[in-house]
Symmetry: C2
Subunit: 342 residues, 2 copies
């Protein structure tokens, strides 16, 4: 598609622009050393690259900047996978060594590390409950009218929800129901729980308990929760140091979106495993037109999957970020698996 020389020049331009955030001219490329042609030759090629849509010119007498298409080509064909610095590797080792027990702590911590290593904003999604199963269910009465439902999943996560005890339901009734659930539904995948409750438990309750309606409502409430993936943000203020967000208006649209967790979840989750790069307008959401979002997936016990992502300006250090995400997602999968002993 592109000639050898055009590739080299495109690579040089993207590289320079990522560093400087300023339009790059033919002269400065010629001086870099890795493209040994005179400015005039490079100018000709640049005109061609612009015609092909890989470059843009802010105004007539400025240098060129990469277009989204240009970044895309860079990422797909050119970006050299940089080896991480040793100091960064140290951070990873620390992450692994810290032996964090709770899943959320691992994720949270990974997010912080990610943001501080890259100087961009990290967005992590907690594991999807899709592939986890029920380990334990419990109803603790708090008062005459409320109880707390506690759900422990096979991956070790604990969800709890306070529910209202329906009129007339007794503590012993609730206890019997909880025992029934544990006996019958342990090991059942979370996403099938509701169905199983209706198909198996419902009749049982109807047969042996006095308050069918109330008890079913209670279960409905208890298992309604926990569906939404948690979102962990870190380094949102790194957005402020990017020159492209000097304009408060643009900044606000992005930061506002970061506060909308449901939308974020939607934008980040994808069926695809592995690394994914969405550049500028490739992102569906309007607020991200000036941003690139790079995501990777991690797994928990090989069962549940979550997403880790980096949000930055389209002028992003793709090579470094992709490398880091790749390593970190593996490190997380390792840290989150086999924690429960053999």
């Amino acid at each position: 598609m592109l000639s050898e020389r055009q590739s080299m020049i495109l690579n040089a331009i993207v590289d320079d622009y990522i560093r400087s955030a300023e339009p790059v001219g033919s002269r400065s490329i010629s001086k870099r050393g890795d493209v040994a042609f005179s400015p005039a030759t490079i100018r000709n090629e640049m005109a061609d690259l612009e015609e092909l849509g890989f470059l843009e010119q802010p105004h007539t007498s400025a240098g060129r900047i990469p277009s989204n298409k240009g970044y895309r080509y860079y990422v797909d064909h050119l970006a050299p996978l940089k080896p991480l610095k040793t100091e960064d590797l140290k951070l990873f080792k620390q992450l692994a060594a810290e032996k964090l027990n709770a899943v959320e702590e691992v994720i949270q911590h990974a997010g912080t590390v990610l943001a501080s290593m890259t100087n961009y904003t990290s967005i992590l999604l907690g594991p999807e409950m899709f592939n986890t199963s029920l380990r334990h269910f419990r109803l603790l009465p708090l008062s005459e009218t409320t109880a707390v439902a506690i759900i422990v999943t096979s991956s070790g996560e604990v969800e709890n929800k306070t529910v209202t005890i329906p009129e007339g339901v007794s503590v012993s009734e609730m206890e019997r129901m909880a025992n029934l659930l544990n006996a019958r539904l342990e090991g059942v995948p979370m996403h099938k729980l509701k169905a199983r409750i209706y198909s198996e438990i419902a009749q049982e309750i109807q047969r042996h308990a006095d308050h069918y309606e109330g008890l079913m409502k209670l279960l409905d409430d208890a298992f309604a929760a926990g569906k939404d993936q948690k979102v962990f943000l870190s380094g949102t203020t790194n957005m402020l140091i990017q020159p492209e967000f000097r304009d408060i208006g643009k900044l606000k649209t992005v930061l506002d979106l970061l506060e909308e967790t449901p939308t974020l979840t939607r934008l980040l989750s994808s069926e695809q495993k592995g690394i994914q790069v969405r550049i500028g307008s490739e992102n569906i959401h309007q607020a991200f037109v000036n941003c690139s979002l790079i995501t990777a997936t991690y797994s928990l016990e090989g069962e549940a999957f979550g997403t880790i992502g980096i949000l930055g300006p389209t002028r992003m250090e793709y090579a470094k970020v992709i490398g880091t995400l790749d390593l970190l997602s593996r490190a997380m999968s390792r840290a989150l698996t086999g924690r429960h002993g053999a």
Copy 2:
């Protein structure tokens, strides 16, 4: 301290400045109508007020802006407690009507409402565990080596922490210990738990269990958590619309601080109940010199206390914010108390 007329003028200046964010001159005050003097007279008084430290002048030929001391006087003596708009009252009623069960949901929701009503940033602290007591403790084994410790408090909050099972400790041993704790420590205030564990439970364990060291470590881990109050932020991006934070540098110092939850907790918590206003440099933290922080306390079941706060520029709508916080803190206390039935 200040003459009638000086008060009126100060009031007018603060009022105007809060609205416009521009230095206010003698002429515009004279035209307002509520201070019926000529610009010249007002100028004289303004010079006096500046000498007394209530006003400042950005430069010689500009109008005056209130100093921190000026705001302080305004808040203490002048700020008229505005009645809330009916549309705002509606939001409150909605809050009360929603019948949220979980404590965190109530707090989270209150924060959102607060931010959207005031257009500032809301910072809410979860209830301090200080006055709550233990209701239930439970240890659920997850695997050979890990278990999840679940702590339910008298106020209905559920803390959970994944802990490592020490070498050699058996499931039945853990179960016995949990039962012991429930029997002995139910109703004991959270802040005394550690002490009571050491003074009472420790010997008991030593007498009847095989793995004293291990079990004690387990308890240590389990009760180490839950101490830190949760922080709920909302409307952080409202900071961006304030003209005083047009300067990205200033903005960043504030937003950075908002990400540091431990520091925030420290800054917000105070022994004092009721409304508290900290203006500009009255805040201990350097990042808040251009900000005012107004806080109020709410109570949960009359036992635990939390803080709700609004952070904005020193040029803040004090009257409105104070009124709103006052009402909302009461509304929250109401919503959070008596939820557990009679």
